[in-house]
């Protein structure tokens, strides 16, 4: 009995099966780059396309996890997580730009092409340090984290919740999008960063680099999943659920709700930033379009489709919606928006607990 006290909803057996399923799924994913190395004639061969697209989806899954942690557990529906993801991406993008070095079109030793072009004489101060990989990774977490901390502190302190918070976070990502579109910001304007050459000494656009990035993303997903599971199963997780369901009651119990929400919001933003940092070298471009409010909403919808407040659902949602999108944009280029839009409507209407609700018992 006591063993189950801390872990309520799914019984021990349920948890075990979920674990087995997860381990199985991870193994299937992990074997993809290996199958990629098989000769193309082999029936088990997996194309580069599948590997690179799956790598991308894994980073989306991490983003979905981050959103689920904040929304599914603490009830913070951020429509600005795309911005945190993009900021992480920009941090990594800056690192990749610095690594291009003199190989740019204009051959400038330090300045990226677009700066040469806009007449910069030297690197702006905020670009300093990004030539170091650890610094870039740190920034990929710190910048979204600090932004989330500022925004969260102001909003949570003023007890802005629910749709108001959603609207504010949406305004945040919109403002960032407008700002990053400006070429004068020093982030490459509309084009953002592209034409990356290498990362950690590996030339990008090789099978090898793709596999390394794939495994790094997979590792991040596993670690993030375990960390989120740990959090949600701790007393903190239960406080978050309590906040989600009855915020003011938690205050009367003596919990400083602002701090708890801030903790999870900042953590979630930093995780989204890390996901973005792994996304960028895999897709080869980062630009302000990533800040567009629609992107953030879509990411939230992945979580809703999969089933919020379950973690597994977030991952499932990210994979299934994106797979569907990839498939539909090719087989039904004119009609895919109907299918996807219809899916969003159907899920919110008929599957309030998402796809996972089809299989699992009622979650928290």
């Amino acid at each position: 009995m006591s063993a189950t006290i801390a872990t309520p909803a799914p019984g021990t057996t349920g948890r075990l099966t979920i674990r087995l399923v997860l381990i199985g799924a991870i193994l299937v994913l992990a074997v993809l780059p290996v199958l990629n190395q098989l000769p193309a004639e082999s029936t088990l061969h997996v194309s580069d396309f599948i590997v690179s697209i799956t790598g991308k989806w894994i980073t989306y899954a991490v983003l979905a996890l981050a959103i689920d942690l904040a929304w599914g557990y603490a009830g913070i529906l951020s429509l600005g997580h795309g911005a945190f993801f993009a900021l992480g991406g920009y941090a990594m993008g800056m690192h990749l730009m610095r690594l291009i070095g003199p190989r740019g079109v204009y051959g400038h030793p330090t300045l990226p092409d677009f700066m040469v072009f806009l007449g910069y004489q030297e690197l702006p101060w905020y670009w300093l340090g990004f030539e170091h990989f650890p610094y870039a990774v740190l920034m990929a977490m710190a910048v979204p984290g600090v932004l989330a901390a500022i925004l969260g502190f102001l909003a949570f302190r003023s007890r802005i919740t629910g749709v108001y918070l959603s609207i504010i976070t949406q305004a945040m990502t919109y403002a960032l999008m407008l700002a990053f579109f400006r070429n004068d910001m020093g982030f490459g304007g509309n084009n953002g960063f592209t034409d990356f050459k290498e990362l950690l000494g590996m030339p990008l656009n090789t099978d090898n680099a793709r596999a390394v990035l794939f495994y790094a993303s997979l590792a991040l997903l596993v670690v993030a999943f375990l960390a989120c599971t740990r959090i949600t199963q701790s007393k903190l997780g239960r406080v978050l659920v309590a906040i989600r369901d009855a915020e003011s009651r938690v205050r009367f119990l003596g919990y400083d709700v602002t701090r708890h929400k801030l903790f999870v919001f900042v953590l979630s933003a930093a995780l989204a930033g890390l996901a973005g940092a792994l996304y960028v070298p895999q897709v080869g471009i980062i630009n302000p379009g990533e800040f567009s409010p629609g992107n953030s909403i879509e990411a939230v919808i992945w979580v809703a489709v999969g089933g919020r407040g379950t973690l597994v659902g977030a991952v499932l949602g990210a994979f299934s919606v994106n797979a569907l999108k990839t498939w539909l944009t090719t087989v039904a280029p004119d009609l895919w928006l109907f299918a996807l839009g219809g899916l969003f409507v159907a899920v919110t209407l008929f599957l309030p607990r998402g796809l996972i609700g089809l299989f699992a018992k009622a979650p928290k």
Binding site: I5, S234, R251, D256, H260
Partner: protein
Amino acid sequence: MSDGYSPPLGRSKDSSAPVLYLDGVSVVFDGFRALNNLSLVVDAGELRAIIGPNGAGKTTMMDVITGKTRPTAGVVRFRDHDLTRLDEATIANLGIGRKFQKPTVFDALTVFENLELALKAPRGPFACLAWLLSGEARRRIEATVEEIGLTARMHDRAAILSHGQRQWLEIGMLLMQDPELLLVDEPVAGMTDQETEHTAALLVRIAGQRSVVVVEHDLEFVRALGSKVTVLCEGSMLSEGSIDHVQNDPRVIEVYLGR
């Protein structure tokens, strides 16, 4: 009361000094005076019942004490602390627990977990993350569960409890908080007579170790508490004294009992 419940340690109690002190408190919403120059003193270990018609300001008074509502004017003190400057969480951590009129428990959590959240312990996010349930804590929780009669339902989610059971669970949570002052808003609404009796006995037992303020409509229940009674009307104190005293106060009869 079960052995599992141990009185708080190291609490310096000056039984002569009042625990709660309200003086000249007014609350104005959009020109409507919800509280009008209200004064109230509750002593350490005292059990106080507050009655009054709807809209008399009972809940607003609770809101003011717990930091939910800021008074427009007046003094609200808990021991040495000026409550008008503090937020709900800080006030709760000073030792004021509140049970709401409409039972508010966390539906997604089990009975055990609800109590665990209320259990007096470090409240920060990192502390919560690192929290491990000690044997001592579990014993206290289990004892309280027994106290509130929910042992059989300890691992059921609160969502599926009956109304009365939710009332009890919330009282249990209040106990877990180990407060010095309990504010209890209509604890017996929706309870059977037997449960009501049980609750009255529990509150009487608790008082003495700590101060309890009970807001209630049920005069039988108030009588069962056998405590001093304060009657509120239109945001002010109308009458104060024993139940018999207030029941015979003509002003009280006019505005409340007489109707």
